[in-house]
Amino acid sequence: MSVTSSIAPSLPVIDRKTPPGAGALAWLKENLFATWISTAITLALGYVIIRVTVAIVLWALVHAIWTVPYSANGIAQTAVCQDAKGFGACWAVINDKFRLILFGRYPFKEQWRPAICVLIFIALYGVSAMRAFWRKELALIWIGALTVVGVLMWGGILGLEPVTDDYWGGLPITLILATFGLAFGFPLAILVALGRRSRELPAVRMLCVVYVELIRGVPLISVLFMASVMFPLFMPAGVNIDKLLRAQIAITLFAAAYLAEVVRGGLQALPRGQTEAADALGLSYWKKTGFIVLPQALRLVIPPLVNTFIGFFKDTSLVLIIGLFDLLTMGKVALSDPPWQGFSTEVYITLGLIYIAFCLAMSRYSRGLERELGASQRR
């Protein structure tokens, strides 16, 4: 034990804080220059980090081009960007295309509607994150919010101009696919998880096991392909379900299988005494489930539920492959405009920042929640 490697697992119980009054130098010595290996790592990493940071700042800020002139017929003149290629970013592409990327081909004058929908979704996530709202009424809030989103997007009533979903695109599509997938998948997932746990109904249990394992064993792409090429065959002649709804059904069925496993984890974590006590009180199966089991089990699974939701949020980008216009697809569409071809790095970085903003907020929240709930259980 004489050589303390700098990459040895740290002591879980050790107090890393320097004693009071030790100052910055002691902190540096402790955390950056403790041994000669640690010093070497610090110097090497520090060098690389500084070089990369300087290069990124020069590319993204100093040499960047923010606007380009337009010709008389409204076509962007990107020669100045082409010249800067390689050492300066061309943020003018975002400047020119951000409405297209965010809202797709939604009628330009009506784009306040998808913008409000995005805000409603964010508010919905915020409300669901607050523990004061973790009660049955939350389901009503979800139903209300999703109805408002549907009315705003489709229009046709209340004097709103109707817009068919062929014209939807961008961020609202990503949020709709993920959120509706969760909203419809979750009740299904609860039923499947209960069915998989049921001892009295072996046939139903088998059905649930086959469903969950089948879906979890294949990639989401194959389920989406199924929705896009096999669904039309399933329907009677003349019935045509549009593309967005088919993808939504596929994502919902896919989400339900994963959510069912999350819910099952919560059901398993519940002590058996709870169900036995409910049985002793003579409660029926549905009363026992609704009043005793689910309220406790679902509370346990909120952190993994958020993590699963982050996964779906990212996975909705796969609809690009079946030709739906979500956020990522709109980025590619924006890049197919001849003047802007070749500026994909800038567009992908912008899309990445949007995805990170959502996912980081959710994962931070779920980690904090895990710590909080864990603390209350440790006691």
């Binding site: 050589v3 697992p9 640690s38 072996p202 492959i321």
Partner: protein
């Protein structure tokens, strides 16, 4: 009356069975009714979908069945592990190539992601603040970006590399250009095959010697040295065999001829981008698994082993890792499965994996159901194989309790 009151758990006999009553108040009767209703509902929906499908297929004059696998494919395939001629070979062979390409990227991806993920996971536990912060930043960022976005980004980066004429080079042997990565290969001769066989024999010998040493230690208490013997068998033996058979050693180094490289082996930009994306993405998840696995082993284990006089390497190998692996294996399995399933995103950047070739097939032949059935069957087989193997391994290292 008296035997009826004895608790059946005490007698070891099952409780006497009551006759099934045809009444809603009998739970067993209720269970049967519910199951019949639910299964009947599922069967009716399935029958409805199947009858619609067969009517639609008949209306479109699409024949069902797998006969199309025998037809000539005509799909151009860029890279393949087995020979393929688009003008003569069948759809069946094209799909087999797709499966092999999927396996090629999955297996190599799993190995590389495990290595990178373990390094990053250990890095997150580093006492060096800069190292811990940098790896934490990597894990956060990579896990919060959709994999598809990362794949498209890497593919664009590789497409933006200079043409072969101005390719970037490492030591004049490895070339990176927009045509992909060129690596030197070894001219394979009999001596190399012999050396590989000698190495395998060395492995077997080392295993036997290790077993002998263990038995000897159990019997007498002292352990014959293993490392010198292993070194001789694993490295010495193949080197001697290679030297004896003439020691041939000739690299086939890629070199620029005209507009492209000749010689060596090529890693296509599509494969390279897919591998890069899958490895960096999955490594972010594996790092977290490794970190929590190591942290799950209490520090007292390190201290107790140190107090027994074990060296640091021995503590890690014999005390900490076996305990950490128990925590690590189950989530690691699901990451391996995820990587394999995520390799299907290849279709977005034009690497011809199973999904990509099956998609082309079903577009050309109209055999949508069969094409998707093939995709699902193959992935289910791969998923089940990986989980069976990992379950076996998990059972192998599981804690044996009384």
């Amino acid at each position: 009356m008296s035997d009826a009151t004895i608790d059946p758990r005490l007698t070891g006999r099952a409780a006497p069975k009551r006759a099934l009553r045809l009444s809603w108040s009998d739970p067993r009767f209720r269970a049967i009714v519910w199951q019949v209703v639910i299964l009947g509902g599922v069967a009716i929906i399935a029958w409805y979908l199947i009858s619609n499908t067969s009517r639609n297929l008949a209306a479109r004059h699409i024949a069902t069945g797998f006969a199309f696998l025998e037809r000539t494919a005509g799909i151009p395939i860029g890279e393949s592990l087995i020979s393929y001629n688009p003008a003569a070979d069948t759809y069946g062979r094209a799909l087999v190539i797709g499966v092999l390409n999927t396996l090629k990227v999955s297996v190599i991806g799993i190995i590389l992601a495990t290595i990178l993920g373990t390094l990053v996971g250990i890095g997150r536990l580093s006492k060096n603040w800069l190292m811990a912060r940098l790896t934490a930043f990597y894990v956060e960022t990579i896990r919060d970006l959709p994999l598809l976005l990362q794949l498209l980004f890497w593919y664009t980066v590789l497409q933006g590399l200079p043409a072969p004429r101005n390719a970037m080079s490492i030591g004049g042997a490895v070339w990176l250009s927009n045509r992909g990565l060129k690596l030197p290969t070894l001219d394979w001769e009999f001596a190399h095959t012999a050396a590989v066989i000698a190495f395998l024999i060395g492995c077997a010998g080392t295993w036997l010697w290790n077993r002998h040493a263990r038995l000897r230690q159990e019997a007498t208490g002292d352990r014959p040295p293993v490392w010198p013997v292993a070194l001789c068998l694993l490295i010495g033996l193949p080197v001697v065999v290679w030297l004896m058979s003439g020691a041939p050693f000739q690299w086939d180094i890629p070199a620029l001829r005209g507009f492209n490289f000749q010689g060596g082996t090529n890693v296509s930009p599509e494969y390279f981008a897919l591998l890069l994306g899958l490895v960096t993405y999955t490594a972010g998840y594996i790092a977290e698994i490794v970190r929590s696995g190591i942290q799950a082993v209490p520090w007292g284990q390190w201290e107790a082993a140190g107090a027994l006089g074990l060296k640091r390497g021995a503590i890690l190998r014999r005390i900490v890792l076996p305990q950490a692996l128990r925590v690590i294996i189950p989530p690691m399995t699901s990451q391996y499965l995820n990587l394999t399933k995520n390799s299907s995103l290849a279709v977005a950047i034009g690497y011809q994996d199973l999904v990509s070739i099956a998609n082309t097939t079903l577009n050309q032949t109209g055999q949508a159901i069969e094409g998707i059935a093939v995709i699902m069957a193959v992935y289910l087989t791969i998923s089940l194989s990986i989980s069976l193997f990992m379950n076996w391994y998990n059972a192998h290292i599981a804690l044996v309790e009384r």
